[in-house]
Symmetry: C2
Subunit: 323 residues, 2 copies
């Protein structure tokens, strides 16, 4: 599962050096952080002796794409509770198509009806002799926070191995902060290592910042409890969230982000998308310039979402065609 | 540059075991065999003291996508001679968009006018004090066959390293055979290793089989000449081309191939495309079943083309949507 860490030379000023961990290249289901997170959920399902996966998300979800693919590749039945928002763009995306290919059984529900739908799906499956596993825990989506966090608590060791090879640590790790699972995991890794790194989450969602902090806090605590570890004093200060870069909220972006995406394709051949990685990469660079960080070694975690890069490419690509 | 080799369990009958080398995960410009080949061309350009890259291909070309990206990432001017065929589908593809993003200077020309266009572009650049490099050699596209072959002659060592780790060799390597550069390189690696493997090219193009054989032969000879090596007696028998799987020719495919693509996504989370890798994967399985190969260890080289997978997904994906 070890993904490359590449040096992006000349990207930053003031003596700062930028590296990128290419989790977009994880070799399953088009890559991305959700590959590690899905595998953590899947192992947890097996560990708990369950035989049917219940997933939840929108038809554009990276997590639902990977989990539905993991289930069909292992012949495990998968039920997707598919949420709809009234304002949502109804255009099918690459993830929509791939979720269809994976053939999960789809149950539609409104945002105000999730708990009841989860309950009802679980009951029906149990009545048919199945042992269903809901990725988020109970019907309110609580109780399983630490499972998702485990993925990046473990991936953190790959970063430490790279540092050991290079003989120098990173000062900062930046990542997009959406559901919070990836950042929770990195913070767990950092706390367990007891190192001096700062884990910087760029909020890309519409989630209120204090709510984002609470969710990450729950992920970290649950991981520590489940692994029988004690959290160090003052650990909550390690949750660093930058909320000045979400623009108009989840899924909204302007030309500063589209320029960043084109520029990073041209300079470093990176596929960034406007919803997660492109927004976070742009936000990271803005923050580093504004905050006066100097002479630091900085890692950006590329959390993938290649299908979203291609959604963007198809949408924007037709401008100014010369070829 | 080492890419993963994965075991695909249960894919083949008769005691055969299938492995796949994931060159679609090469960490530059969306991956694929053209990443290795482009890097070989780029190094050759630098070695020859040239400063401007001339590339040739259609607006859908994987090679032109990677080369134009490599040039812009290294600030080397790139001129693309862009061929058109009258019957060609005029729809822009992901590669079309990415070639645009890279910003190569595009010169259009018909298929009957390539040599004159190459000459004219080279002369104009020289008159401006540039030292242009045409990837295919002279204006007729000859003289540089061994450069492209070098890419997979070198990649062959990664396969040998894997075999050494596992303590057992592969009996067969299957790959799509289009321009022939990849297969030429694998044959060079095999001849240099003096091992017992068979390199099986599945012809996916419309190119006549004897012409395909000749082009591969030129690649192998040129590589050996340029590296001061002597070809072993009878080496031409190592060029194995399977031409029963091209269907109606380059770019044409039927439901056997689209089913293979969906099945391989579901079972092994692989992105295969209908023009190259999906057709070759299907052809390989058909051939193995028909030829009575037994108890063999078989490697499929995934030559990438992720942008083509997403072209296909967008085209086919909207059927039977449930999500």
């Amino acid at each position: 599962m070890n993904t490359p860490i590449q040096h992006l030379s000349g990207e930053l000023d003031n003596g700062n050096e930028l590296y990128i961990k290419r989790d977009d290249l994880l070799p399953f289901s088009m890559g991305g952080n959700k590959v590690r997170i899905s595998q953590a959920f899947f192992q947890d399902m097996e560990h708990k002796g369950c035989d049917t996966m219940i997933i939840y998300g929108s038809r554009h979800s990276n997590l639902c794409r990977v989990l539905s693919n993991l289930c069909c590749s292992k012949d495990v039945p998968c039920v997707m509770i598919c949420s709809h928002e009234e304002q949502e763009d109804q255009t099918a995306t690459n993830n929509t198509h791939l979720i269809d290919w994976a053939g999960a059984q789809v149950i539609h529900c409104g945002k105000d009806n999730i708990a009841a739908t989860v309950s009802s799906v679980m009951e029906k499956l149990r009545a048919r002799g199945r042992r269903p596993y809901y990725i988020y825990g109970d019907k309110f989506g609580r109780g399983n926070e630490g499972t998702a966090a485990a993925a990046y608590a473990e991936a953190y060791r790959e970063i430490q191995d790279f540092e050991a090879d290079q003989g120098r640590e990173f000062d900062y790790i930046f990542c997009p902060s959406g559901t919070g699972a990836t950042q929770s995991g990195l913070i767990c890794g950092h706390l367990l290592a007891g190192d001096g790194k700062k884990i910087m989450g760029i909020i890309i969602s519409s989630r209120e910042t204090e709510r984002a902090r609470q969710v990450i806090s729950e992920g970290v605590s649950d991981y520590f409890v489940k692994n029988g570890r004690t959290l160090p004093t003052g650990w909550a200060e390690e949750i660093i969230l930058l909320d000045g870069y979400r623009q108009a909220g989840y899924g909204h972006y302007d030309s500063r982000i589209t320029s960043t995406i084109r520029e990073q394709y041209r300079r470093n051949s990176l596929p960034l998308d406007p919803i997660y990685t492109g927004k976070a990469f742009w936000g990271m660079k803005e923050y580093i310039n504004a905050s006066g960080i100097r002479d630091s070694r900085i890692l950006f975690l590329h959390t993938g979402g290649a299908p979203l890069f291609y959604d963007f490419l198809a949408k924007e690509g037709t401008e100014n065609e010369t070829c």
